[in-house]
Amino acid sequence: MRPSEYPPPFDPEEVIAAPSDPEPIEVGVLIVGAGPAGLACAIRLQQLLENAPGIAETLGDVPVAVIDKGSKPGAHLLSGAVVNPVSLRRLFEGRRRVADMPFFGSVEGESVYYLTRKHASWIPTPPTMRNHGNFVGSLSQLGRWLAEQAEEAGVTILPETSGERLLVTDGRVRGVRTGDRGLGKDGEPGARHEPGSDLVARATVLAEGTQGHLTGAAISHFGLEGENPQVWALGVKEVWRVAKPLDRVIHTMGWPLRGAAKYREFGGSFVYPMGEDMLTVGMVVGLDYRDVELSVHDLLQELKTHPKIEKLLRDGERIAWGAKTIPEGGWYALPRELHAPGLALVGDAAGTVNVPALKGIHYGVESGILAAEAIFAALQPGEVVWRPGALAPYDEAVRKGMIGKDLYRVRNMRQVFGKGFVMGSALAGAATVSGGRIPGGRYAGERDADQELLRSDRAKSYPVPDGKLTFDKLSSVYLSGNKTRDDAPNHIRIETRVPREVAELWVRMCPAQVYEVSTEDAGKVQVVVTPSNCVQCGAITAKGGRLTPPEGGAGPEYTLT
């Protein structure tokens, strides 16, 4: 049985629409998503426009606008994170230094461990994972800082604004229709209904991050699917205030994941220092896992009971929690083209994550810079930015530059782990040594939702939350500051009448306890959805449903993730 056998009531074409607003809002370049990729694109564009007042004028009163569905930039940003500063340096060359950026310090040391239930064996850091010269940071804080830089540079940032529909006419992207606010549970306008608007622009950049809503629709509409389907991992992390500072970056493999090929449990954990008195610990697991009982949130709780990890958290206090998916398909899952007429796809929305290196932020920033440069070039007299192919130089720059080179080198590494930890490690090792030439060809990927389900007794060993070291999902959702109206319309599309196996898969998968099994009849159960718990991680889209953005301003209020 596979979740994909019970597809959600969703058609990507419903996300595509023609402009219909009698009073559209016009901006020059519209960027959807105030994450590192979107903000880097905005900042780079303003830098270029600074020296080209003629072009700037043609973009109108609001030359560059960034919309974000969170209540403020950073509210929906979550990552580990250890950041390679190369692209940020490039972006702020001559204007800001890394010391101005809100990092917690450079990586002083790192260790990788292979864990079993009780032991930790130190293993040499795989070459792809070395972090010398990199900086530890909170992506949410970095996003907030980037937004400040963007605003200083003249970018207009519009938080609490969701991109609900992609406006397309004559095969050309015109902009975005923003979502309504203040609708009731049944979709009816409530007392304070604020309808969405058409935001039209000469060029639109989709920087929505993982599981981009408009991005998915655009890829489908313009036929941009890559050679392999995109796949994702789910990361759940916490931030702790601790008594003793951590002196290095830690990654682990092995327990609590199972190495046998049949389980397909790919991933590991990380523990990163955040200054003198905080650290972050997280668990990342590929969503191609098969066991119905697997719960990444609970694996994180289990991980914390390992003596090596528990020691780091002793006498500490959990102060933040969050969850988000990461695109893991790599090179072969990149869209066939990263552009369409009037459109560019950047960052995680396009899938620019290097899984073996655990890096995506600087590629997001880099792609944002490249998109800005290509758009600026296409705004010059003699070119039309929304002409088919006008943004092809952006695609070329990504593939021929740093992003393409790095992703190509590791192009099959994630996929080989479908063969289990041991075999996968061996192949990955071979891939590293050979610069990617071994294993040859393209390892075909499968969709996460196409994985055959199985059931083990995995849930038995999840710790019962004690409220001090381990925590339940609901108190975690509370800690994320989740602000989603109880009576808002349900933004999650799933088939609600499914076999018990599929229902339980979703119940366990979701870190925010959105799904519950209710009644059973004729071999199927009813799934009840509590959308107000949703932290918009995107896991459901990978595993058989479809997340759509709720009203702007809803969702988590991340600050330290």
Partner: protein, 259 residues
């Protein structure tokens, strides 16, 4: 007609709130937003302006320079102008000091109506407006669940523990609205875009003519000594029902004089 709305920036709901053990004050370092109850006051001001067809809605707040961010949301809703009272010497201001500084700013503005929201989610104090009304020597109406402004008067339905009082007071007046009075609007996209370019002024104590010794900790008459964990609830008494649970509950409650 000029309506001044006193608003406050408070730590975000989800942010781990803590009291700084050094300063013994609320750690305001993390993310912050507009106090939710102030949104009701802003909404009411906007409605009054809309129904009278004219007027100016000015936001007044006291806080660090970042407080301008929280005011932006209110500007996006439709307020016209933001006035921030910001000065290092303001830190640690208690009711006496805060009301003094706010009153000085309001005297400067001379609004016809001053509005407050129900309470501040960070200090849960439902008291500031009365102190400000006293300093301004203006009539006060608090807990307004309904408000009408016209003919130089305010008419309010005031929610009390016992029901509703109907109160009238002549302008200029100070009114504190309850959260039952309205549902604050969502800012429109045009509103969010326009907020940035609306006038935002910052005043220091010097600009207000208030001496530094009259503000902040120096100007406060209360202080904080110690923090301690609250008394624990004590042990949970646990029983399994064997048919006699109801009686056991009654005995437990009777013992504690709860019934």
């Amino acid at each position: 007609m000029k309506i001044a709305v006193c608003v406050k920036q408070v730590p975000e709901a989800g942010a781990a709130k803590r009291i700084d053990p050094q300063t013994k004050r609320l750690d305001r370092g993390g993310e912050a937003g507009l106090n939710a109850f102030d949104a009701n006051a802003v909404e009411e001001a906007l409605r009054i302006r809309e129904s009278s067809g004219e007027g100016e809605v000015v936001l007044v707040s006291m806080g660090p320079s970042r407080a301008l961010e929280a005011m932006r949301k209110a500007l996006a809703m439709g307020a016209d102008r933001a006035l921030l009272l910001s000065d290092d010497a303001l830190e640690g201001s208690d009711l006496v000091a805060t009301s003094r500084v706010l009153a000085a700013a309001l005297e400067r503005e001379q609004p016809d109506l001053v509005l407050f929201g129900q309470q501040a989610s960070d200090s849960d104090g439902a008291v500031l407006w009365a102190a400000v009304a006293e300093r301004l020597r203006r009539p006060l109406v608090s807990q307004a669940a309904e408000l009408e402004v016209g003919d130089g008067k305010v008419r309010a339905k005031r929610q009390t523990e016992f029901g509703y009082d109907r109160i009238e007071a002549p302008l200029p007046a100070v009114v504190a609205v309850s959260d039952a009075i309205n549902e604050p609007r969502y800012p429109s996209l045009k509103g969010i875009m326009g907020a940035k370019s609306k006038p935002q002024e910052t005043l220091s104590l010097g600009d207000l003519g208030v001496d530094a010794g009259q503000a902040g900790e120096a100007g406060s008459q209360t202080e904080v000594y110690e923090l301690s964990p609250p008394p624990s609830r004590g042990e949970t008494v646990r029983i399994e029902d064997d048919g006699s649970a109801a009686q056991k509950i009654v005995d437990y409650l009777a013992e504690r004089k709860l019934i």
